[in-house]
Assembly symmetry: C2
Homo-oligomer: 393 residues x 2
Amino acid sequence: MRIDSVDLYYLRMPEVLDIGDGSQDMLLVRVESDGHVGWGECEASPLTSIASFVTPLSHSACHPVVDSVVGQRLDEVGDIARIAAEVRARSLDLLQAEHTLSGIEIAMWDLLGRRQERPVWQLLGYEQSCPKTPYASSLFGDDPQQTLEKAVNVRRLGYRAAKFGWGPYGTGSVGADADHVHAAREGLGTEGILLVDAGTVFGEDVEAAALRIPALEDADVTWLEEPFTSGALGSYRSLASRSQRVRLAGGEGAHNPLMAEHLIDYGGVGFVQIDTGRVGGIGDALRVARHARAAGVTFVNHTFTSHLALSASLQPFAGVAADRLCEYPVEAKTLARVATATSLSLDDNGLVAAPAAPGLGLDVDLDAIRPYLVDVEISVNGTTLYTTPDLRS
Amino acid sequence: MRIDSVDLYYLRMPEVLDIGDGSQDMLLVRVESDGHVGWGECEASPLTSIASFVTPLSHSACHPVVDSVVGQRLDEVGDIARIAAEVRARSLDLLQAEHTLSGIEIAMWDLLGRRQERPVWQLLGYEQSCPKTPYASSLFGDDPQQTLEKAVNVRRLGYRAAKFGWGPYGTGSVGADADHVHAAREGLGTEGILLVDAGTVFGEDVEAAALRIPALEDADVTWLEEPFTSGALGSYRSLASRSQRVRLAGGEGAHNPLMAEHLIDYGGVGFVQIDTGRVGGIGDALRVARHARAAGVTFVNHTFTSHLALSASLQPFAGVAADRLCEYPVEAKTLARVATATSLSLDDNGLVAAPAAPGLGLDVDLDAIRPYLVDVEISVNGTTLYTTPDLRS
């Protein structure tokens, strides 16, 4: 069966603030083939991705993404990788294409799963969907006392794992950072899994990051996330060799599987964090998960938007019991929370798993998201290339 | 002085064909500050880059590029790197931003050079602009006889170096590829520098590429370019260790300096090819050139469009005599040829050099390019975010 249509929907909150909250807008993708429909979400700048989908041809390696998707055969799992490879080849020089591809690829998995009435993780070859320990992500407080209170609250909410990041971390003294980390540990208690996210604050500066390691080790921190710019492999490797117990984590910026594999092979990370909405989709995330397993590295999802994105990001490591942690969005904006009719809630043990229902296992709630739909129009030399399509099931 | 305005212009040929000719359209950037003007060119999908420049804010790490450029101070060389770093940080999650930044960064160098009445290569610290040996790029012919004739013609035109690539190479038998390579050598003569471009045809398949090495060594080929996907560092390293005399070349896909440095540090290339219109601009290309020099790797520009792009790509290695080769567009479309009032022609010795005139040393010919200007309009919720601005000097 052919892909009959691909629709892109830009949705956003009435007010978008200049804060580190990536759930303020979203780009949903609807793929239809022979009456079957699948949905995906790009973790990307919506308008820019829409432009990459419809842009006029520049040359044979700079096609609009639509050229390699609509009209393609989509009969079986292998077709998805073939279509993704075609997008990458024909849009080789169109940088944004990999972000745009990601949501389309996810929607193709959802569609095939629904058509075959099987969850995506089964299509990936997994026999079960293993429950994961969700971790709650928070910003560090403005001072250690605030960080302490946030950690106490996270513990009270029942989370056994918590990540603190950004805020003042890495911008002041080594002592101030240590105070924040110790405050987080105190609030979370000795049993909790504590993670720290440096938000690339040290650029490529290994020495600055290395000064923070002793406090992280004292506080029994499991990982230090993104100390450096995501591609700074030499800095990662160097810092990794200087930490005894704290492992490095990174990979959310990877827009293809090779970039993530490099963090493992050359950067020496202990945890690789993949956003299926960026890396090229579920198939590419699965490739990274396999590479990680072979290298003794733990795979973790990166997710901060809707539960549609969460389900998509859980699929690639759903069947791997050893990959036990899961990033779980806890402070998402209304748009992200209402986007799906149901959500992936925690079970009685406080764990979360990729659902057993067909496809991604979640229905997009069209009525709930309709008020957030953004009206976009793009025209070139008088020809309209894109107007926001109607939201339809 | 502040940056008063940044204008993006999408230009294209009346007909754009699905062929491997990247000179069929262009995205020019005009930056103005306190009455001074500089020009640059992005090697990017024009419409997608325009969208990345004006897109609404998504969150604090997904700003439109314009937010980090217009209104910034631009007094001295150091300001350019500061602005570029700000674009990368505030548009961290906007993939297209690095392509868009590249043309803006180039225009800032042109502007500063013109204001200080010095060529950009002097601003970079070079004392001279060393002449380079231009190589002519051609597609392999459909059969070895055609390749032979093309090589004879290149030699007749006076080029001492020639690159053949794409076309049938890597898609048929090992023997057929060998015949093409030997035909190219025969046509070019024993003295000429012969380069081969595989156009990523082998993906990540080292064995397939390795089978081609003996013929390349027999024909005294200087480099094998892009045998693999640009990020396939392990494949590059593996093939590099299996060639005796033929060195590997790559890097045109790098959209930041780290990606290019990885090809040197982990991929084992002997030549690193940088397009300043993609890598982040002239400053980032200079960083790669220095890294290459320290590693004993030769830096080469990647250019297939206008002479404005050619000048920008020559600046980062203008002062390095040892980096003697230069990609020189010989078959560019009319648009690319008329874009500048003058061009970087070959001297009496058949060599080409970054010009001695201020900035990039070339004036954009507004009247010549005006017929190619594309009329773009982008609106979001009824607000027009972009309409093609007037072309002005």
